[in-house]
Point group: C2
Chain length 342, copies 2
Amino acid sequence: MYPTQNRRVILKSRPLGIPEAEHFELVSAAVPALRAGELLVRNDFLSIDPAMRGWVNAAANYANPVAIGEVMRAFTAGVVIASRHPRYAEGDRVMGLLGWQEYAITDGSAVRRKVTEADLPLSLALGILGLNGVTAYLAFTEIGEPRPGDTVVVSTAAGAVGSAVGQIARIAGCRTVGITGGPQKVRCCLDEFGFDTAIDYKSADFEQVLAAACPQGVNIYFDNTAGAVSDAVLPHIARGARIIVCGTASVASWDPPPVGPRVERHLLVKAARMQGFLGLDYEHRLDEVVARLAAWVRAGQLRYREEILDGIEQAPASIAGLYRGENTGKRLIRMRHADSTC
Amino acid sequence: MYPTQNRRVILKSRPLGIPEAEHFELVSAAVPALRAGELLVRNDFLSIDPAMRGWVNAAANYANPVAIGEVMRAFTAGVVIASRHPRYAEGDRVMGLLGWQEYAITDGSAVRRKVTEADLPLSLALGILGLNGVTAYLAFTEIGEPRPGDTVVVSTAAGAVGSAVGQIARIAGCRTVGITGGPQKVRCCLDEFGFDTAIDYKSADFEQVLAAACPQGVNIYFDNTAGAVSDAVLPHIARGARIIVCGTASVASWDPPPVGPRVERHLLVKAARMQGFLGLDYEHRLDEVVARLAAWVRAGQLRYREEILDGIEQAPASIAGLYRGENTGKRLIRMRHADSTC
């Protein structure tokens, strides 16, 4: 049944730093009729990602910021419920940048891929088989260039990206050291995600424990945080180390940029490399990487956690919680549709 | 004639930060007889390099520090005046880590290469055909991965490494922007080393001039300084930029490390790379690179400046001057030997 009304979350004002509930507004709009070449997607899951902070801030970034009054940019997973597009049929499952809204009309350009893993839950297309898993795999392998026996340190190790990195590193034959916050997440890293060592950065002896966990130095540091955790890792990098800059979760605002210990000397004396990762550079590899990750998920080698919030009303406040470290695993909004079966 | 006495500069005390004259002492020692497998080199030129700071400081580095009482580690160029080594004959010109002393005995392990460019001055083996030129070439090509049309920014652009980088970048088809201190060095960058633009970092409008000089962003930043100059360049890096960390001349001491604006966000949103360069990793390419540089020198495409100080007595105070920006071009000590002809 073709919907008439579409509830959507728009950007109401531009935050400085972390976006809070007050920066968004839930509004309702009519759903127009489909034109030739368009398809209508019912969003069943909305993704909540740390990257969204960058999407709504005015500071220089890898994408133009979301405009005030525009639907919040977001990855979603859903089902095609009407199509006048030659490549999509009713019932196709898709993932794409379809926004925080119940329904999305697109000419296909916003669709990132058809979700063909019919045996796996659709929500995975936003997490372990989506931005998080694909980022973990590509950033770790392309920038990290892992070798068996390497010591790999991962920050936000219990998070959606970090937990995948730890497991992919183990599959690659590396020794894995996870850094996370609090004893519960430490246990989760050890028991659920199989890190060889997990360290609580909030503990008083964090720096000593970290040093003891990396007696041969750190060959790969997968950095999701920047800040104090990174400052503790840098002095322990090994000759030829690779530092993957994937996120800066610990930094509340980059305007002005915060100061920290300079990194040049570490990079110089260790002939080490520090490199930023943007998934946009690797879109052509999406299907290949998803197939690889899906096979590991089916084999039980790659585990994941989801934290599912119910209803689009939860969306506006959901980003800030990521930065407070509230979540364990991938945070998602599950939509309540009158006609939904999921 | 086999020498009897050898004047040498030893490390007397360990500096914190930049080594000054007071940290060294000029002493005299007897020259022992050669044993089988050894050669005796008469050092004609001693090299003065910013890297020497690291060699005498206790902080973690890429090499063990020079011990107190030991001859100061240094590259030198000289002539074999006696040999019981099968690969070296009297009269061979050599370059190696033979120390701040008039004569050096080695089993050959300290010799870096035979200097076979008989048509070029021996001193070049320490500068444009030595550590400086080889570092400039390898760091720029291996880490910088230049492409024609790239905008290349070089700090300490009038220095021994920086001036070579600018010229090699131009040969590679890049647009070159040199950063240096004072109007005299700016002129030198433009007139002698052919930079497309040269900027005085001491001028009041440095940041605006830098931004205007890089309208398409900076594709390669060859960093010899760290510090305020780097902080001004980072906001202008282009997507996919390469930052070559080759030296940290502007930082007086790394113990404790100074703070500066964090770099992570720049690297992340530009998918950029920052990497340290150590020549030690490329020793196997020395002869190849020297041959390439020598050809450019002969063709007049690669110019250099030398600043020659006379006599080993000048050595102890000579490092600190580099850090004050006193020199233009490669700083060397020319030795006065009774039997020398140079």
